[in-house]
């Protein structure tokens, strides 16, 4: 059975693109347009992997990532960050939040900066699902 991948991104163009890439590589895509909807879909659909944008209007990727990595029932779902912001800024914001909330989260397995090539994404997904 093909693996379920949840695509969380506020940009419909990005969703269309990633969904197509996933379908072309025999994954089953599900979409969510913000962090709030993302969490809801994770709970409903129980995906095998999540690709996550950082800058989204409601419930940012930074928060959703923390939520996923600190929830015992969710923290084993692999997350691939797929975003326009640099890894450096992402890590800085995570560090600030870690200090603030007194809880550390692991660095994401894959951090892909847009624009992403289809092969690059598929490689990252395959690599993550192996582990």
């Amino acid at each position: 059975m093909s693996k379920k991948v949840l695509v969380v991104d506020d940009d419909p163009d990005v969703r269309t693109f990633i969904v197509t890439v996933l379908e072309e590589n025999n994954f089953t895509p599900i979409v969510a347009q913000d962090g709030v909807e993302g969490l809801q879909k994770i709970e409903e659909e129980n995906p095998d992997l999540v690709t996550l944008d950082v800058l989204m209007p409601r419930g940012s990727g930074i928060r959703l990532y923390r939520k996923l990595k600190t929830d015992p029932s969710l923290k084993n779902i692999p997350v691939i960050m797929l975003t326009g912001i640099t890894l450096k800024s992402f890590l800085r914001s995570q560090k600030t939040l870690s200090e603030f909330q007194g809880e550390k989260v692991p660095v994401p397995d894959f951090y892909l900066e847009k624009p992403v090539e289809p092969e690059e994404l598929i490689d990252a997904i395959n690599e993550s699902l192996k582990g």
């Binding site: 269309t16 209007p57 847009k114 624009p115």
Partner: protein, 517 residues
């Protein structure tokens, strides 16, 4: 210096001995001589302070002794010892400078009084001498000090960075330092006592001096920026101040200070230039970022189209083509924005109802707002009537502000708020039409607020060109208006646009009145 050496001259040795003894008892040092000639020799050798001499002596009498002593040292006090019948000689002696006389037989009290007087005279003279001496020293010292100070001030004036020029009460130049010579373009020697300020100074400077003198103004003139025409026909940017000088409430002259601003102005221009360059740099990097995002969209879209073609999947074709079209639209928006920003545009004034334009814009955005759970409310002042404005300016500016306000709500980390945007219009003082756009979104920190209108700056990542507010400001300013923002981090932001307002009707009425008269 104590007075204690006394010379006693008398041909009667017993008297000399007696006097010497009695004076020694009183604490004086005495030297003696038994005739006039000997007396002069002893005087030269011993230099006594006081001389006691008999008048009547053989060969050289007391008068001659007095004369010679006074020649040697006019300040010696000479007391004469006189007998009966010496009245004439006594008078002559007093006329020649004897200080006192005592009668024979010499009585102790009389001698004591005569000596006291002589001592007092000597003491006073010495005091006077010392005082005079001191006075001379003090004058020399003071003269030095004055010279030093005046040299220092001269040096100060000469080497001052400011041009300094002073005039007498007839406004003729008496002082002009090298810096002032540079600004005036002439040598001090060419203008000293020759020409007055009206010939040399630009009229505005000359006028402010004469005005200050007329008003008896005893304080510095305010620093003012103006220009000084230079010899080569250019003008030197300067700052100047000055003061009317008074002595006993009478005007005795004027002094002016000039600062050459050429270098400062040059630096200012360079600064503006470098800020512009920095802005261009930011624009380029902002643009590159934005263009990159468009490319991401185009690439993604073409991938989806490729898949659609390969699989003969119409849905994919439509979706991919949509993405491509959307991104083509983004490119065209960007180009539009860039063109409008770089182009000077005259507002296209038309008779319109500003409140109607606002309703139009709100209509345009209300669906998006509703989708995002943002409530838009309006409070439009019905007193605003038809007026001549550029509807495009109002439309574009307001659309931009409302879009920003919605983004501020969506960007807020506090997602539990009841987000709302309220748009208000009203007439302010002095015929000003105001539009207020208030949101309760994220607000801005100081850094963001500082960059609002100044540079190509966006907090929206790839979604904004960083040109929106800059364009709005440009449109409003071309319309002779202003735009301001008040913000509170976490609480929201209020943007206020102010535009000149004139009711069309009154304008027409005035026109008619003019036509009639």
């Amino acid at each position: 210096m104590a007075i204690n050496k006394i010379l006693i001259i008398d041909d009667e040795k017993d008297i000399v001995k007696f006097l010497s003894m009695s004076l020694k008892i009183d604490g004086y040092e005495t030297v003696t001589a038994y005739n006039g000639k000997q007396g002069i020799e002893v005087f030269k050798k011993e230099q006594p302070d006081i001389v006691l001499t008999d008048i009547k002596m053989p060969e050289m009498d007391g008068l001659e002794v007095l004369r010679q002593i006074k020649m040697i040292d006019p300040e010696t006090e000479v007391i004469l010892i006189t007998g009966h019948g010496d009245i004439d000689s006594t008078i002559a002696a007093l006329q020649r400078g004897a200080s006192d006389f005592i009668n024979k037989p010499v009585k102790d009290e009389a001698l004591a009084i005569a000596l006291k007087r002589a001592e007092a005279k000597i003491y006073m003279r010495r005091q006077l001498e010392q005082y005079t001496c001191n006075l001379e020293d003090k004058i020399t010292e003071a003269t030095h000090e004055i010279k030093r100070k005046s040299n220092f001030q001269k040096l100060l004036i000469r080497s001052s960075n400011d041009g300094i020029a002073a005039t007498d009460s007839d406004w003729k130049f008496v002082i002009c330092n090298p810096e002032a010579e540079k600004i005036f373009g002439c040598k001090f020697s060419d203008i000293v006592n020759k020409i007055d300020i009206e010939t040399l100074y630009p009229s505005d400077i000359a006028k402010s001096f004469k005005k200050a003198a007329k008003e008896d103004k005893d304080e510095n003139l305010d620093w003012k920026e103006t220009t000084f025409p230079s010899k080569d026909g250019n003008s030197i940017p300067i700052r100047f101040s000055g003061r009317i000088l008074y002595k006993n409430e009478k005007m005795i002259g004027s002094v002016a200070f000039f600062q050459d601003l050429t270098d400062i102005k040059k630096l200012e221009t360079e600064l503006v230039q470098s800020e512009k360059m920095a802005a261009v740099g930011q624009t380029v990097s902002g643009l590159a970022h934005y263009v990159k995002n468009i490319l991401v969209g185009l690439k993604g879209g073409s991938y989806v189209v490729d898949v659609g073609i390969k699989k003969n999947n119409t849905d994919k074709l439509i979706a991919g083509w949509d993405t491509i079209k959307k991104n083509i639209a983004r490119v065209s928006d960007l180009v539009q924005d860039l063109i409008s920003y770089s182009k000077e545009r005259e507002p296209d004034y038309q008779i319109c109802l500003p409140n109607d334009i606002i309703i139009e814009v709100v209509d345009l955005v209300k669906d998006v707002a509703k989708k995002n759970n943002i409530k838009i409310t309006t409070k439009l002042d019905p007193a605003i009537k038809e007026t001549s404005m550029d509807p495009q300016t109002i439309h574009r500016s307001l659309l931009n502000l409302i879009t920003n306000a919605m983004d501020a709500c969506l960007d807020d980390i506090d997602t539990d708020k009841n987000f709302g945007i309220s748009i208000k219009t009203y007439l302010g003082a002095n015929n000003i039409f105001c539009i207020e756009v208030e949101d309760n979104g994220s607000g801005m920190n100081d850094e963001t607020q500082g960059k609002l209108f100044t540079s190509f700056f966006s907090t929206k990542g790839g979604k904004g060109t960083g040109l929106g507010l800059l364009l709005t400001k440009k449109l409003i300013e071309e319309h002779r208006g202003t735009i301001n923002a008040k913000t509170n981090l976490g609480m929201g932001t209020i943007f206020t646009i102010e535009l000149p307002y004139k009711e069309t009707e009154t304008e027409l009425k005035e026109l008619t009145k003019e036509d009639l008269s």
